[in-house]
């Protein structure tokens, strides 16, 4: 799994590539938490390069959204691939997370 961080004006886009699972969840969580701890609490995960997630991956996403919201920001998902979307939907995550069809819409969803 690869994580590339791109700083925008008021948001931080984290482009994730690979699987978000038990083998990669800890590294992903560390990378996302580092952004929040650095004050980048308006986080967007670009999931266009993620085709698989498991329960460990879901737990990392949930921990991040809770931490971002506690810090006054939010963690939003963009370009979610169908297999990942299905798992998010099955596990109730689509009811608590904001999802956008692409990164630009997710960026625009945060007030300037």
């Amino acid at each position: 799994m690869d994580v590339v961080v791109e700083q925008r004006t008021v948001t931080t886009v984290v482009r994730i590539t690979g699987s978000v699972d038990g083998l990669t969840a800890d590294a992903l969580l560390s990378a996302l938490q580092a952004q929040i701890e650095a004050g980048n609490t308006r986080l967007i995960a670009d999931l266009s390069g993620v085709s698989y997630t498991s329960s460990a991956g879901l737990r990392a996403l949930l921990a991040t959204v809770k931490q971002a919201r506690s810090a006054g920001g939010d963690f939003r998902l963009a370009s979610v691939m169908p297999p990942v979307h299905k798992v998010l939907e099955m596990s109730g995550f689509t009811t608590i997370l904001k999802l956008y069809p692409d990164v630009e819409l997710a960026v625009a969803s945060f007030p300037a």
Partner: protein, 296 residues
């Protein structure tokens, strides 16, 4: 000083409610057998309990397919239970029994006995847990001893279609009413890696009868319960739950047994998609290192 050896991960296969769709578990099972991956326990709910029981008893995939084709067909629903229906609509005259089933269960019970005979949980080669729902309390019931026929019959007691079934003095209904994909049972029994094959109930395009309306409403309840439970189990588990959700590409309804081959193939495909990660999780050698795998 000896290096500590990581404990072997305990693998569970959980097969959720889904009527004919549960045959997809056979596709998954074939892939696991081909790869030499065994499971430490099987958990089944409703239609999934039939397949979990077959696998736990050591039936092979072809045997299980033949058995379920004989079991799961329209013959088991042909005979109406007029006594039960009269009791429901004229309770004083025909003495209402406290529950109702529109379909007489004698053909179903006979088919289950043909498939499982007198086998008991004590006869399984892999631990088996069958999930039903207690009528009196609504609680999930995990059945793990006694007669396999009784447990499966209880687990598939679809509300209004078949009467509940008594197990150990308690009337039981379909497990999908409390736990449509019983991942929690696998967690409780100590599984690390949980292969969770689950299905949501399809909604009919049009509601043409009271029965179809009842099915539709029932599907709303159980689909929402499926998601709520799955969400909690995902967060509660200490290790991995691998969702194995076959895409059928077309509706598969309650008695579409003519779609068995397609359903099994979809199950195998969904399993193949999980295989690389499963191999990593279980620290199994990559296929090229393992030599030629025998395909049954």
């Amino acid at each position: 000083m000896s290096a500590s050896v990581p404990a072997r991960k305990r693998v569970a296969l959980v097969i959720g409610a889904g009527s004919v769709k549960c045959a997809a578990a056979l596709g998954l099972w074939k892939v696991l057998r081909r790869e030499g991956i065994d499971v430490d326990m099987l958990v089944g709910c409703s239609g999934g309990s039939i397949y979990a029981a077959c696998m736990a008893l050591g039936y092979d995939a072809d045997e299980t397919e033949a058995m379920t084709l004989a079991l799961w067909n329209r013959d088991v629903t042909k005979r109406r239970d007029y006594r039960s229906m009269l009791g429901a609509f004229l309770p004083k005259l025909f003495r209402f029994r406290g529950h109702v089933g529109m379909v007489h269960d004698a053909p179903l019970n006979a088919a289950l006995r043909t498939g499982f005979g007198e086998r008991r949980f004590a006869d399984v080669v892999r631990p088996l847990y069958v999930v039903a729902t207690e009528l009196a309390t609504g609680h999930q019931a995990t059945l793990s001893d006694g007669s396999i026929v009784d447990a499966v019959r209880a687990s598939i007691a679809i509300p209004y279609i078949w009467a509940p079934w008594e197990v150990d003095g308690r009337l039981m209904l379909d497990g999908c009413l409390s736990d449509p994909l019983p991942v929690d049972v696998a967690i409780k029994e100590g599984a690390d890696v949980i292969l969770a094959m689950g299905f949501e109930s399809p909604y009919p395009r049009r509601i043409r009868s009271a029965t179809s309306y009842a099915f539709h409403v029932n599907s709303i309840y159980t689909n929402n319960l499926f998601r709520a439970n799955y969400s909690f189990h995902n967060l509660a588990h200490h290790a991995e739950i691998l969702p194995i959700v076959p895409e059928f590409g077309e509706p598969v309804n309650l008695f579409d047994t003519h779609k068995f081959a397609h359903v099994i193939a979809c199950g195998a495909r969904a399993a193949e998609e999980q295989l690389p990660y499963l191999r990593q999780l279980l620290a199994l050698p990559a296929p090229s290192d393992a030599g030629a795998a025998g395909v049954r």
